[in-house]
Homo-oligomer: 106 residues x 2
DNA sequence: TCAGCATTTGCAATTATAGCCAAATCGCCA
DNA sequence: TGGCGATTTGGCTATAATTGCAAATGCTGA
């Protein structure tokens, strides 16, 4: 794998890695319903505000979400609605595995 | 986020995490072209065999790939062709970011 | 200007990952 | 059976990620 190829995969990996955390995946799925402010998200997640803020900053840094300030609040929203396709793939892997396990159990 | 919800996201995260590594993303994309044995993949990646073997084992453990032994060789293949949809989403985030950067530069 | 909420940033400790080398397995064939 | 090539596993070290607390920043309304 040459330098150029590796760089290409690393760019994609940054985005995938951003989704590879339970809290961030939850945030993304919550944002797929619509804009939310940090305080709302923090309450839903149930972790420290600073932790949630950092997760959101990471998602933003790779371009998955965008933010909008309104007064002292910050509203985050999805920048790409494609997350659904993304999830579909994950779901189908999960389903395939579950079906296989079921078959083995019989 | 209650226990049950968290467990749901963790199951999905295991799959996403498996893709969140340059070498593994490369392996998956290479396997999307067809079955390959460990020795071929090792050569393409250019890392230690043991390293590649561990990456493949991880991909297998979450159900993304499957293996088939033939003599002393092991052939890996994709278990879910959906990786393409997965990539499409990643690509569109990349593209959106690139376009935005371009617009800012003008 | 000051107090007060919302959010981000700096810091330090804990935990998880990745990589290589060496050693163990496994199947094949002389 | 013994050796050989292919692959996996164990062990160890180095690096990266995650988290909460405390402090800093920003905005708003009195």
């Amino acid at each position: 794998m040459d330098e150029r190829t590796r760089a290409k995969y690393e760019a994609r990996v940054r985005i995938i890695k951003a989704m590879a955390h339970p809290t961030r995946l939850f945030l993304v799925s919550e944002l797929s319903r619509g804009e939310r402010c940090v305080c709302e998200l923090t309450q839903m997640v149930g972790a420290d505000v600073s932790t949630v803020s950092k997760h959101l900053a990471l998602l933003k840094s790779v371009g998955i979400v965008q933010d909008r300030k309104e007064g002292s609040q910050v509203f985050y929203s999805l920048r790409c609605p494609c997350i659904l396709e993304f999830s579909d793939c994950v779901e189908s892997v999960l389903r395939a595995t579950a079906e296989e396990q079921l078959a083995l159990a019989e």
